[in-house]
Amino acid sequence: MHQTRRTVTLGLLAALGGALLSPLRALAARNQGAFEAKSAVDAMRALGMSGAAESKDIEIRAPDIAENGAVVPIDITSNIPGTTSISVFIEKNPFPYTGTFDFTAGAVPFVHLRAKVGESTPVRVVVAAGGKFYTTAKEVKVTIGGCGG
């Protein structure tokens, strides 16, 4: 496991206090369990997003066929009122959980990002709005060799 300076410091403090690793993780703001999950389902469970309802009010704009998997542009817009965050899962990546984007104080629930996509996969988006979760997915094909698909 990789360690940040924060986790090292926390680790030292925890060692002094004789604490175990599991309560330590709860202290860190970053949901390490979700980032280390090897499947989108496990990552969503770690984030408490299981059972998100399918929604047509989330728009994912990404190429149907991406020639370069290292840089796949993804635009996400949520039309669900009260959207507070957008989370992205690239299902077949080694670590599917790509990130969560939080919107506060007047930010429009839209984000553009560029992600690495290892192989053809559904890109799943989970939106949090009013304490509920909504989801949708879009298939992105990655061509290897440049002329497939």
Binding site: V72, T98, G106, A115
Partner: protein
Amino acid sequence: MADPMKIRATLQGDVADVRVLMAHPMETGQRKQGGQVVPLHFIQSITATLNGKQVFSADISQAISRNPVFAFKVKGAKAGDEIAVTWKDNKGETRTDKTTVRGGS
């Protein structure tokens, strides 16, 4: 010290369209160079403020592309407002850059 970010904030009506380009290798910890695995090195968190008030934040993984680009939109911005963006990576390195919102066409 990492290179500065390029930030552009342009008004479209009362919505500021903010685009950020960060200079960062975003190593996944899976790539090999000369038989050696290049260690994980990636931006973990991003926050953005409008006139000092947080409007956007993100927790991200190593799956974001090298030299990450993000765009987001902030409502209620005016020309001359200050947008500041901060990132922090898994080695504890951090960088903040600022720009002012420019009036759109």
